[in-house]
């Protein structure tokens, strides 16, 4: 009882309130971060509202198993040179360009994981397409004026019976991918005029652990998801300048 006299009522009340809030936050944090459980099912209507968005977190780091495929983004372009001669470029691996920037760097650029993240984002939205819709995005949608190709694409997608909202959700990721590719192509083939852009994502597995010492062992073949040709994405001069001032330096 010796300590009882040394605390005021206000101190005791504040202590209880703070302890309760801290305990509630700790409980909510654990439930949010841990694998799902029956406790989570019961409590999450309350705890999740408390956690989102400020304390949203995900600690599934290299787990349950680390990803064991490389995720890549590729671009190629149809261009015309000064003489007006049209040609199709080689495929360029954008992931390589970014990875090259962090090789042997202790303090790497934050931009380096953009292609991998973009592959993930696009692949998630592409996988939600049905077979017929996937066929549409694999086919070419280009126009002579360089602008109405996208209308052609949306018409074709809606023609499959796709709802506008599902289509819009998909197009967010495709637009992002093609704008990234367009900006990159402008720097990759700087002396040419862009006529059309084609994007592809790919995955490639690695040599299994057990076979790593086998002489002459090759990685499994790379699997491509090759989309159709599109008109170059419209980009503002400001966006072009911002992208090019960095990426242009890498590829020149």
């Amino acid at each position: 009882m010796s300590s009882a006299g040394s605390r005021t009522v206000a101190q005791r009340v504040a202590l209880v309130v703070v302890a309760a809030l801290v305990a509630f936050h700790m409980f909510s944090t654990f439930l949010w971060a841990a694998p799902t459980s029956a406790i989570n099912d019961k409590a999450s209507p309350v705890t999740s509202r408390h956690m989102y968005p400020l304390f949203a977190q995900n600690w599934q780091i290299f787990a349950p198993d680390p990803q064991s495929v490389d995720l890549r983004v590729w671009v190629r372009a149809t261009t015309t040179d000064e003489a007006g001669v049209e040609s199709v470029s080689e495929w360029a691996n954008l992931g390589d360009v970014f990875n090259e920037q962090v090789r042997h760097q202790i303090l790497p650029t934050r931009t380096w994981r953009i292609p991998v993240s973009m592959n993930r984002f696009f692949t998630t939205s592409y996988s939600s397409l049905e077979g017929q819709q996937q066929a549409v995005v694999h086919s070419d949608h280009v126009s002579a004026d360089g602008q109405s190709g996208r209308q052609d694409l949306t018409r074709a997608l809606l023609g499959t019976g796709m709802s506008v909202s599902t289509m819009d959700a998909y197009l967010l990721s495709e637009d992002s991918l093609y704008e990234f590719g367009t900006l990159a192509a402008m720097d990759l083939w700087p002396d040419q005029d862009l006529v059309a852009i084609q994007m592809s994502t790919s995955t490639q597995g690695v040599v299994p652990f057990e076979q790593r010492l086998t002489p002459g062992i090759q990685r499994p073949e790379e699997q491509f998801t090759r989309l159709g040709w599109r008109d170059p994405s419209p980009v503002t001069s400001q966006a072009r300048a911002g992208f090019s001032s960095v990426f242009g330096g890498w590829v020149s």
């Binding site: 300590s3 040394s6 605390r7 101190q11 504040a14 202590l15 703070v18 302890a19 801290v22 700790m26 944090t29 654990f30 971060a33 841990a34 694998p35 968005p53 400020l54 977190q57 600690w59 599934q60 780091i61 290299f62 787990a63 349950p64 198993d65 680390p66 990803q67 064991s68 490389d70 890549r72 992931g95 390589d96 920037q101 962090v102 042997h104 760097q105 303090l107 790497p108 650029t109 931009t111 380096w112 953009i114 973009m118 984002f121 967010l172 637009d175 992002s176 900006l183 690695v206 652990f209 790593r212 010492l213 503002t236 400001q238 966006a239 300048a241 911002g242 992208f243 960095v246 990426f247």
Partner: protein
Amino acid sequence: MSEDTGTLGVRELVAGATGWVRSTWAAGESWMLDSRKASYGVAVLRIGFGLIIAVQLVANWGDRSLAWGAGRSFAQGRVEVDEFPSWLDVLFDGSAPPWTFDLQYVALIVLSVLLVLGWRSRIVIPVLFVLYLALFRTNAYIGDGGIQLLRMVLLYMLFVDTSGRWSLDARRRRAAAAAGGPSRFASWAWLATLLHNGGVVLIAFQIFVVYVASAMYKIQGGMWQHGTAIYYVFQLDEFSTWPAVTEVMGRSGVLIAILSYSAVFVQLFFPFLLLRRSTRILALVAITGMHLGIGVLMGLMYFSMTMIAIDAIFIRDVTYQAAERRLAPVLRRGWDRVRRRPRAAPPEPVAPVGPDTDLQPVGAAAGHRTEGTAGSGGAGAPERPTPETTMPAGS
């Protein structure tokens, strides 16, 4: 007779139980209200976070316009990342003139330097938090757990007295106390202490969740169970920052298994290893090594440094004090020399400052703590400096 003993037994049991509850409650009250816990640890956390943000923004200066500036247009409005308030979009606006972006970017660097110095931390932290949040949400393709973690811990730091030690704020408070006149807030210092300790508990728990939850996921995976997971991580383009090194490491199955298993176990048992001093040193050394390895070999340096900075709160104040006692005179001598040099014309020979400033490994300084050191301080110099020097304890 037997009934008597029974009654007595129950009564004793009840008395024992209430006694235990009472003493536990008193210990809890004392822990939360009597002193600010990890006062040096949170100062190191503050300095660490400031350095991480500053270094990262400076290192990314050349790439800023693609990462977060006007060149991020391919990410803008495409990826739904969070539901933070839309007024944040006003900051780091990609379509505004580039100089306004640069101005905000530089402001964020300046704020993080102020965080390192501990200048007006109670104001700097919330402003820094908002700018940091706004910058990193402009491009959802750039992001990792380290960004989330730093953001959340910055939020907890709003409640913590992070500049009680090793800061300009602490110096100012000392000067004010020396000038006499109690602080206006003196009678509320207990509340600040309570909030501080609550915040410290949240930071500690947050890092426990990171480690334990990630271990809970890992132990479900076959690659971690068979000790091959690290090999697979090393194979990816994305994490091949030093391909020649990881290629050699990947050849040794035993090394890969040791690294994979220790990553899982150190994370899973981290909170429990902290309970005893000997295992705490082991845990902190092992986990710091793990973070540095991940940071260097896989290009995840900012994430790793964030974790290391947070783990710094688990080193006890006495250890930091011992380190301070050893380093302060050396640093002061060096500083005096630097300061004197411009005034005194004759150039002095360069003093051997380097060899003296040997940094102590974690825990080593605590081991060095002896009665002799305290005794030589004279007049029973207390091991723990009175927290009253920074802010008078209330009541």
